[in-house]
């Protein structure tokens, strides 16, 4: 599946507290979570139309709290894929479980800048920077994670078993 979207660029160690600050965790409504996504770090994020956009982060993206509200907020904001140099363990797992596409690519994360337009093939992991040029290949998704994606998330995977 190929998507095309505008980049929101972030640095290293983007923790789930800045993705969705604790004061917004009194609800689990996904639309409200989406509105408050990056409320302090990028206040413009929640008020902008982000459907189809791409988040590009540095290393250890999604570290800290296990709150699934974080990937849920990003997914509900319509973000098509998160690309990072590396992901923290729990966020990585949560993203697959809820069906938020994520890709790991050090080169892409370093070269891509805020506002660039990317086209991303979610199946092959090929990332093309349409603004600046350059094509990158994300690390292949492990087979087991792929089977969770193919099932449509962990719940469906478990139900099918």
């Amino acid at each position: 599946m190929e998507i095309e979207g505008k980049v929101w660029k972030f640095g290293d160690n983007i923790d789930t507290d800045v993705i969705i600050p604790a004061r917004f965790l009194n609800v689990s409504d996904k639309d409200i979570l989406a509105q408050n996504c990056f409320a302090d770090l990028r206040p413009d994020f929640g008020s902008t139309e982000t459907t189809g956009d791409v988040i590009v982060g540095g290393s250890n993206f999604g570290c800290g709290s296990s709150r699934e509200h974080a990937p849920l907020a990003i997914k509900s904001a319509g973000v098509a894929v998160v690309i990072a140099k590396s992901f923290a363990r729990i966020f990585y797992r949560n993203a697959f479980n809820i069906g938020l596409p994520i890709l790991e690519s050090k080169e892409a994360a370093e070269a891509i800048e805020d506002g660039d337009t990317l086209s991303v093939d979610l199946v092959t992991g090929e990332i093309t920077n349409k603004t600046k040029g350059g094509t990158y290949c994300a690390s292949p998704i492990p087979d087991f994670m792929r089977s969770i994606i193919d099932a449509g998330g962990l719940v469906e995977y478990v139900k099918n078993k």
Partner: protein, 419 residues
Amino acid sequence: MGMTLTEKILAAHSGVDSVKPGDLLQAKVDLALANDITAPLAIKVFEEVGKPDVFDKDKIALVPDHFVPNKDIPSAAQAKEMRDFAKKYSITNYFEVGDMGIEHVILPEKGLVIPGDLVIGADSHTCTYGAVGAFSTGVGSTDLGVIMATGEVWLKVPPTIKVVFEGKLKPWVGGKDLIICLIGQLGVEGANYRALEFTGPAVKDLSMDNRLTMSNMAIECGAKNGIFEADEITMAYVKERTSREPVVYKADPDAVYEREIVIDVSKIEPQVAWPHTPDNVKPVSESTGVELDQVFIGSCTNGRLEDLTQAAEILKGKKRAEGVRLIVIPGSPLIYKQAIQQGLIEIFLDAGATIGPPTCGPCLGGHMGILTKGEKCASTSNRNFLGRMGDIESEVYLVGPAVAAASAVLGRIGTPDEL
């Protein structure tokens, strides 16, 4: 091939004789945990799975601790959702306000986690229970919802990093300083997808409360778990809390570790993790210029009796500095009661502290003790992320209870020796 402590527990819970790093396992869960923030999403997932009942009503713990006593109407709704679920499925270990404390304080305290257990929690600090010789790790709500339905979880066997603590502790140095020092060395991502095994002569005599502090912060360098081998100290702690039989696993002599880190603790002075990452570590002697607006003593890292006792010894007969707010939160009702019986609460009150009910409090910046722009807090909690305790322009400095207590009196970061 020999196995590490983590590998042994994972193998035993997956019905296989041996495992190695990278193996994918379907493991049986001894205890599944959620709190008032993560349970509502997990309950939704449980319902989607469509099983008529939970896998075992005795093996689920639901603890309201983040936004209780209810901080606002939406929080009240979330707490109720968990309460109703607990009632509907007759969950044995649901803790109502009054019985509740911070999840990672009360579960070991009540003997719900013992050596050899495999515990999965929808909270990243579930790694705390490594201190009692259990494998425990944090997951999100979807994983937890599925576990509540099936009693099983998929896990990838992590490579283990062995951490050997050698030497004799200096005064005012405790578990908090050791773990902050390690995180400073490893970096916040240094143990991502890995297990930590804590060992060495310096942690042999360490109390359970200090070990719980260390395992608690394993996640702050990305680790999946941070485990101690159960010993006499563990067994003495566990024996009086449960009738269940602990299973003590030991790492094989020929266990394979990804790497080994040796830390000479005799060289460590009290540590401070500066904003805004737990690996931004400096010794306290280089942190004494930091003026404070708030000091917080509590959380699942340092809200236990020994922490409060140490803080009270330092605060006895002293007063917090003018302009500093001192917030003390015992981690559980039992600790609260013991602190009253032992006169600690009186010392705190005389020192000008305010005492909160046994909850997470300011730790996550959601309820009570929140910071505004420009304010600085020395906190015994585990995270100092940007905006963690309030405004994005506030600052959190992570310290142990001794430095926290001394800093409250000094009005700036410092040690008890300066008083």
